[in-house]
Symmetry: C2
Subunit: 283 residues, 2 copies
């Protein structure tokens, strides 16, 4: 389990990696980091978010690590592991923060050295700003931390991943198998972003903002989107997302048919159903 | 123009009618009301929102009115005008609060007595609760008030409608022709509600709420919806709304194609476009 002697190495010191570093260091854990950006490492050292850092895959930092957290985009993480896994010492535990799991875990667990273990984690948190300078561990307080074990994982690794979520003060820490995780994320996160973006780009009228109320703003808030990260997440989970788009489009098409045949009773029933279902999601 | 001598009659004392009464009475204007619900009239009298009220189409109240505001659902308003317009005195000005205009104004202006005038208004405001007891004129402060003149309207009536929006402290008071209004509302309001409802009803998984983040909550907040009012508004504007659904569905389909052919460059360009466009809507 994680103790104050555990050497935690964060690879990728952006918003999420930085928030991990901030939260763990505040509680007295030993955190170091690797990031290609000298400014990020310099800032983190200066602010006491990390005890040591490097802009390269530093052999000493890697060799010393008991627990490695990859806070990189999924494809960058896959490349990093393939290229540099020889630097880790036997028995080290690796985890991540990626928003999709199946395509990522398959590849990494399939290429990992026998004497290392990789356990998937997904901190469901974020902000609309980026980088370690915007890091803030309080974003975890209302968020879910999802551990996604596979048959390759040991109970010890699962327990450490769960403990990490607890140390970071996530609202809830749960386990899901990777396929169920990706299915759920395809709906609650990816489909909502796909809808927001499409709503934002389907109409180029320059004057709409003058007449826009809160509902349009609510639906498009997440249409300001990090294009590199989200195109990667969408593509890694494309089969699930395409199915979710199809199911949503069919439902909107059902409403369209009610409008065509002027079926007021069916519309009212659909609105009552949506009202009842939305009530379940109120916090 | 409206003065403190103007006799203002509100027909339909729900959330919007009540908020008009509250805002106008606070500023010293003379307001009376008609509503079928005795509790609404009783509450409004007791709280000083109105000086006089009735649960029936009271001839004396109608005869005395200079300015009549219909705060009823569109079809109920059309029926009311047809049945009771003989009660108004020559020269009275009528207006409304309906969220769609073309189908409503055509019918009312087509059946109205020659010596009455009806000018369309749309206060773009609301809450997720109903009734005069929840009325609150402060909801107008951030909202748009849209006057929708037709060729049947006089400059005097347009000026009075604009003044009403100003007296109620709307953020902006603007004029749009009814067709442009309905086109705009079909996009910024009706399409967003259609999307939120469909997103809420396309997946019946009972466990989703455990994993739901802010983005899903944002997109479905308006899926709690007054089924009587919205089915009426949707059907009255169905041609516009069907076109908006088609345009949105085509855009989401375009994204789906990008996913099918794994076109990362196209996805990134779509996300950059949406990010740029969303920035225009920030307040």
């Amino acid at each position: 389990m994680i103790t104050t002697d555990t050497n935690i190495l964060i690879i990728g010191l952006g918003l999420i990696g930085g928030s991990y570093a901030r939260g763990l260091s505040k509680k007295g854990y030993q955190v170091s980091a690797i990031d290609i950006d000298p400014d990020s490492i310099g800032y983190a050292l200066e602010q006491g978010l990390i005890r040591a850092g490097s802009t390269e895959p530093d052999p000493a930092l890697c060799e010393a690590a008991d627990l490695i957290v990859f806070a990189l985009y999924p494809t960058a993480m896959i490349d990093w592991v393939k290229e540099h896994q020889h630097l880790f010492r036997p028995g080290a535990l690796l985890t991540d923060v990626a928003g999709v799991k199946c395509g990522v875990l398959d590849v990494i667990q399939g290429t990992l050295r026998e004497d290392l273990e990789f356990i998937g984690s997904h901190p469901m948190a974020g902000r609309e700003v980026y980088g370690v300078r915007n890091s803030d561990e309080s974003i975890f307080k209302i968020a879910n931390f999802i551990v996604t074990p596979t048959e390759k994982n040991t109970p010890q690794a699962i327990a450490v991943a769960r403990q990490l979520g607890q140390l970071l003060d996530f609202h809830t820490v749960v386990e899901l198998d990777p396929a169920t995780h990706d299915e759920m994320i395809g709906f609650v996160s990816q489909l909502t972003h796909a809808i927001a973006v499409s709503l934002m780009t389907c109409n180029n009228d320059q004057n709409l903002q003058d007449y826009t109320g809160d509902s349009f703003r609510d639906l498009t808030r997440i249409a300001r989107i990090n294009e590199k990260m989200w195109s990667e997440l969408f593509l890694l989970n494309r089969k699930v997302l395409i199915d979710q788009i199809d199911s949503f489009t069919a439902e909107l098409g059902r409403m369209r048919e009610m409008l065509c045949r002027q079926d007021r009773a069916a519309l009212e029933e659909m609105f009552r159903h949506s009202t009842r279902r939305r009530a379940l999601f109120d916090r």
